[in-house]
Amino acid sequence: MPTRGYRALVTASSPPPAANPPVRRRRRPGPTGGVGFVVDSVLMAWRWLRRMRTALYMLAALGFLTLVATFVPQEPNVSSTVAEWRSGEAGPGVPVARVLDAVGAFDVYGSGLFVALLLLMYLSLTACLIPRIRAWFRLVRLSRPPVIRRPSEANLTATFATAASPEVVHATADDVLTRRRWRRRRHTGDGRTPAQLAAEKGLVSREGGSLLFHVSFYVLLAAIIVGQLTTFEGQRGVVEGEPGFSDSAVSYWLYQPGRWFDESDHDRWQFELDEFHVDWVRDPLAPGAGQPTEFRSEVTITPPDGEPYAAEIDSNAPLRIGGKRITQLDWGYAPRVVVEVDGEVVHDGFIQPTVTDGGFFRGAVKAPAADPDVGLEVFFYPYAPYDESGRPVPTGAPWDEAPMLLFRQHRGDLQLGATQQTVNELDTTELESEGGAYLRPGQSVTVGDVEVSFPELRRWVGYQVSSRPAIPALLAGAGLLVGGLIPALYASRRRLWVLTERDEGLGSTLVTVTGRAFQRPEAFAEEHAAVTAELADAVEATATDPPPDRPGDHSGAHHRAGDREVLRP
């Protein structure tokens, strides 16, 4: 409904505002026949797209899709849950999951339906905005406040009498309204319309704000698309004190460059983790017992052609190097496990067990260098103090005050490459258990002919390195959005007329200040009263109606509308 506002403008006051140019040009008759049918259909679709109701339906559809995304787990977010839904371990069951899969409900925002809706919304937005923007520019350039024949019922009206001449009154009113930044138009009066100063305000900012708000969607969309193309994200885990990684394509474990991201965009600095600080509320009786209170990495960065320097990464303070940002993603304990068979070292390295619900960590050691292979199932407990009888008691506490490494040793074929297994999983189908033991840091133990030792405990941290050059554009889009929204919702379009009627016999001028607001009438009532009072003061009014001694009452009930009795001096 791009022209609704304009039409309202035409019908709002009694005389047609001849001063305003027609906003829409007349359509020429189009072609007929088959071409005409196509043209008509396109025009009809375009007009449908332009309707406010259409936008409403689309918002509803967008809301529905989002609702689906709220209830159904989304693959990009929680792929494991989606996998459980698919296999029937969780969720409403396999058949339902199949249907959900078929309609793309597991990845709503990547589905064709969503893209189609987005496209349609942007089309509708465009269809809506083109005429609105054209009309707006015409309004800004050409519009003049319309004149009025007599105050109408719908108007807020106040009158007063003054000895000043109409010219002086109009000039003063012009000053007052200029100071208040109204758009003005003087009319000297003719047989049909009285002499008056017509003024208007707010028509540019309200509609302009709304346009800016809607236009910001294009900026946001463009920024997001460009962002997708130019972004880069890489992930990598690092153990304290161990060699880190360098910023290059090959050193990331998970590497997701956008299409326009080039390998030469890497900065090739070297990254090392010196120490990772993590702490909790350890007192079980303190408020929030067990909650973490700190995650902080002390790191060393070596630029490709410079001196190494120390830096810090905190939960909410990522490290910025050039255009890239390093954030902490996750962390865990990294026990160093050495495995020797017949005095020969077959494994020596830090393992990175994953945390479990039970508060302990699970991992595996795989040593295919031995013959037959050695595999250790590892359970790591950060806090397993001894009880009175000297036995370790595993607890769920995450702090490493009494670390214990529990393992079960296996020999046989590890099936590496034959079956799917992650680094922390051990496929025991072809293995034989030879018993297990527990170790404290610095200890070693021999099980069968295998000696396992746990010389030290460190920590590992998973980092994400990202580069998002489109963020400033996105911020600009957000700024436009808010900057447009506020005037779109709060600016109010209003008109005011200062009419004069000279009574030469009495030597006085009757001044009528009348006006109306299209939005926010209460605020306008105050403004109207203020303008009237200012003008009455400036021209030394002799009597006013309503009397100006009712400050604070803005109900408008005391402003008489339409034909009224007038106090004469």
Partner: protein, 389 residues
Amino acid sequence: MTQDQLAELSRFLYSPTTLLLYLTAAFVYLYALTTTVGRQEERERGRRARRIGGVLAVLGVTAHVAHELARGFAQDRLPLGNMFEVTSLMALVGVVSGLYVLQFVRRRPELNGFVLLGGSLVLGMAMLMYAEPGPLMPILDTWWRPFHVSLLVAAMGIFAAAFVFNGLYLLRDTAERAVAASHEGRSRGSTVGAAHLGDLERTGPSTDGDDDEVERAHAAAYREALRAGIPRVKLAVGVFLGTSLVSWVWLVTDDTVAGGVGRFLAVNLTMVAAALLAAWFTPFLPSTATLDGLAHRTITFAFVLWTVGVIAGAMWAEVSWGRFWGWDPKETGSFLTWVAYAGYLHARATHGVRGRNAAWIGIGAFIVLMGTYLIANYVVVGLHSYAEL
């Protein structure tokens, strides 16, 4: 005072102190509302009741603020870190801004009771998610967080007030329509009664004597007609079902079946009781235009806050997690709420949709707000799962 004592104090200030003060103040105000159409001496009593209600409300707000402060000191951080704290602050913002607007901007202090009733409801709901004071996870410890969270909390509180206005609008509108329809049936199109009594709350007893008696009898009959115009059973069932759209979350997430059913019923029946009470008060409500305007303006304001709050959240996510938006359940929920209220604003700007339809969209948007808030916190858990239930 030790932190434990502070925690104890904050708990006591919250419940029963604040809760009871709000509730009593609400009922005193609602009583005062029933006197506005009565005799001179009744109106005098109403004025006195309103004064008492005002004192109780101020005491309630003071206790509420004191609770927030005590809780803040007990845990050495802003009390905005979990659902209980957020909801409690949402109630505080809603009550204070609602009372302020009605008292000083709108100058309709007789409506304060509804705001206080709404505040009590939200406070009661927060009790269902009570959590002991404690420190914050480090990821939440940044100035982005209070900025983002407090904007959204303020918006939620204001949306809640708008929900009440929309509900009251629908009640009043339904009642007026019913009365107009029955008039039409009886006197063939004469709506004189409805027109003249539409402004009931302004009708004061101007003279003593028979005219006054007649007028009052007439007004009482009109009040009865308005009340009769609201189908009670339909209202109760509708509110029960409508609330269930949100409160099912407790059914499926509570540890015990009995606990879940208990919470579910507590919420639903409270809402039904509130609706029936509001229905009884329908004749004393301001005009539909006033209620509609209040709803629109509150939603407009909250929409701006919500927009800025969501943007701030995206900025925080960019800083904390290295991505500004990931369709995490909470992000999805806040987006959905935003779209729903944008739908309301569009509906208001569309000819032929405004009025009752827009009010229904507003109600639906609030259901979306509460629903996504609870779902994202209880049912599906994503990165934002710091809620500490």
